[in-house]
Symmetry: C2
Subunit: 430 residues, 2 copies
């Protein structure tokens, strides 16, 4: 441990927003521990901001700069921590940084999901570390686990609650009987949802994260555009009520599965049985459930967002990279996609369905509907009819596992039947 | 990736029991993937067994040897995988291996808990990798998570269900109303419990694991003898019934906490509220809950034992070590204990208590008992009196958090009171 106290690894922070200031604070808090943990002191030497004259609580103003050129030209800075978000200029900065031999830590999921390929290839080419634990599920260390701890696993399924906003909304709807709009409003008021909640409630954010996880777990490139996505805007209090009747809860999950025919990757709301470990993941917590052929089921749970949890993931990566610098690692082998597995069309995948529909309340209707399912090779597992009024009965059906294509066929026929008034919900079932 | 297919890292396996044969199978299964994952082929070149003439299903007999000398003298073998268990000769073999410059992977928790210090120091001295993920909670990657992903965290609490046998027994008692003896018998019949279940049911196995986790999380050496331990032999169906009344379940957990006064480390059965993530960890599953000042709560869940899950953890370590060899890492910094924090005496720690007692069923008794608690500074949170017969009433009390010393004082006074017939259970409450 001789001279470790004197070694210093310098890093620059791009961005001083919520996460950036969290990282700065955490690095300061752990100053005394870094020499023992990483073999060196870690110093945030510069912070890139748009307006360097603006004061920022807790951050010395002489660290602030609005000049990327100043940072990239500084040879004493060996790590770039990117927490500014967005695609540009983040992408150009990181590419430039790696070409200049600097190591990279980023929390930018949009960037990884869209340009991971190019960034990781560049890292490989220039022998740089490229770490992005905070980009998926905040401080749940799923990237590290998939890349290293489970490196010998044949992973066949990942299922994750990876968007805190939608999980908060669905939890409130489940526990307090709120409507979607009420729960969304509460989430917005609390700062969990953004003014424009599209990326969260339409499943886009979860889609980026499942694409990243699937790529790593299956060693085959999966991009955002490969992901079939449905959001939670159409989930009603009534669906949640019926889910309870089936001893289940509704969660928005990212699912990726692999078999001999390829990869299935999607984000959608599903009914999960109460006993499943993901069913009790509530509020803004995230959790990722992983199935491997040797490990069987494992699950990783924690805060998926927030200043300090995200800063914790970024700083964990920072420690690892600092260690690598001190230990002079080479050949960091950042990209692990060595297969080219086909992505399945959603219509070729198999699901169970929860279907809520309003039908004419008269004899023979049920026989009519069930025969449509039968003809399309859809078998019915459970059926509930609870309410009936004004000649309309509400029917809730749960099917067995069926090819999505066959189910679509049945649905198209049902929609054209005069006895079917409306189909109000269609949700997959685990 | 040029010549990677031609690079070979050779390992020797010490032991060909359940875990050993699992590792051999898994390494064979993943043969084609290793070059991509580790940068080299991995070959199990020799397997040390007691009787090399005995046939072992699936293992070529020419790999078997009963000679440690043959393995240690073979310079082509760079990794020793120890899955034989027990202290000796495992310890001597691993020390010898490291002195000969070989890297080590082990699944031996007894060895780490008792001699971790010496082994890790030796690894540090000789610049060897020393990996032991499988020693704690099977394929739950808690060692990797604590050492690397959470390296920047100030961890203040770890609470883990890390013994599958006792978790199975308590799950059966909870879900099927079995007695302890019935559940233990079932666990033994299913092979979950050994013929002599002492190490499991008396909490010794969990004690070793929490000592290992506490050492890593708090960067301060905690040994098995530092752990205060109570097992589950005295848990009755009635206790489980009352726990349900308090909306809780009883779990055997290892707990380690750190504050400015030192470390508290113990294994004991506790009542956990139904909503806590650990409450739904059932059967033989393990889970470790970690609280850090930045990350907040995280949890890691999976199979804590079994042939393939344990083999998965061992093989994950093997991949990492093979990578390190290919990438020529140095200074692997295996031991992270750089603090010397005091271990608290159990009497100086604070707990909530669940107390079940039989008392005289007559006026004034309750006042008498509650006044004993009051005098000893123990405040009562909840009280239930359900059954009464033959002049005896059963009283169940849950206290607020209190110093264990004060609670012991109150208990000693109660035991001497003539109105107290017996004290049948004393269990901590989360």
């Amino acid at each position: 441990m001789e001279s470790v106290q004197n070694k210093i690894v310098k890093a620059a922070l791009l961005g001083a927003g919520t996460v950036g200031s969290g990282v700065y604070e955490l690095v300061k808090e752990r100053q005394e521990d870094f020499p023992h943990i990483c073999g060196a002191q870690i110093e945030i030497a510069k912070i890139l901001v748009r307006d360097a004259s603006k004061e920022r609580a807790g951050i010395p103003s002489d660290l602030l700069t609005d000049s990327w050129e100043e940072i990239i030209a500084d040879d004493s800075i060996s790590i770039i921590i990117e927490v500014m978000g967005g695609i540009e200029p983040a992408k150009s900065y990181l590419l430039e940084a790696m070409k200049a031999g600097k190591q990279v830590v980023t929390a930018n999921k949009d960037l990884i999901a869209e340009h991971g390929h190019e960034l990781l290839d560049t890292a490989e080419k220039y022998g740089c570390d490229f770490k992005f634990e905070a980009a998926v599920a905040g401080c749940v260390p799923i990237i590290q686990v998939l890349k290293q701890s489970m490196s010998s696993e044949n992973i066949t399924e990942i299922m994750g609650i990876v968007n805190g906003t939608t999980n908060y909304i669905l939890t409130r709807m489940t526990q307090s009987g709120m409507s979607y709009d009420e729960a969304l409003k509460e989430a917005t008021d609390l700062g969990y949802a953004e003014a424009d909640p599209t990326a969260d409630v339409d499943g886009l954010d979860a889609g980026r994260k499942i694409a990243i996880m699937a790529s790593i777990a299956f060693h085959s490139r999966v991009t955002f555009s490969d992901v079939y996505i449905e959001g939670i805007r159409n989930i009603t209090a009534k669906d949640i009520f019926y889910a309870k009747e089936f001893n289940s809860v509704i969660k928005l999950v990212g699912i990726a599965r692999k078999d001999e025919n390829g990869i299935e990757v999607k984000v959608l709301p599903i009914l999960i049985p109460q006993e499943h470990p993901l069913a009790t993941v509530n509020d803004s917590f995230n959790a990722v459930f992983v199935h491997g052929t040797a490990s069987d089921d494992t699950m990783y749970y924690g805060r998926g967002a927030g200043k300090r949890p995200t800063a914790s993931a970024v700083t964990g990566d920072l420690c690892t990279v600092a260690r690598h610098i001190i230990e002079k690692h080479s050949n960091l082998h950042v990209c692990s996609c060595y297969k080219e597995l086909p992505i399945k069309n959603i219509q070729d995948t198999y699901s169970r369905f929860f279907l809520r529909m309003q039908v004419a309340d008269r004899p023979g209707v049920l026989a009519n509907i069930t025969s449509v399912f039968g003809t399309s090779q859809v078998s019915i597992a459970q059926i509930i009819q609870k309410s009936r009024q004004n000649g309309i009965a509400e029917l809730v059906i749960i099917t067995d596992k069926v090819k999505e294509l066959y189910f679509s066929d049945a649905l198209n026929i049902l929609k054209r039947l005069s006895i079917v008034n409306s189909i109000s919900s269609l949700i997959r079932v685990y």
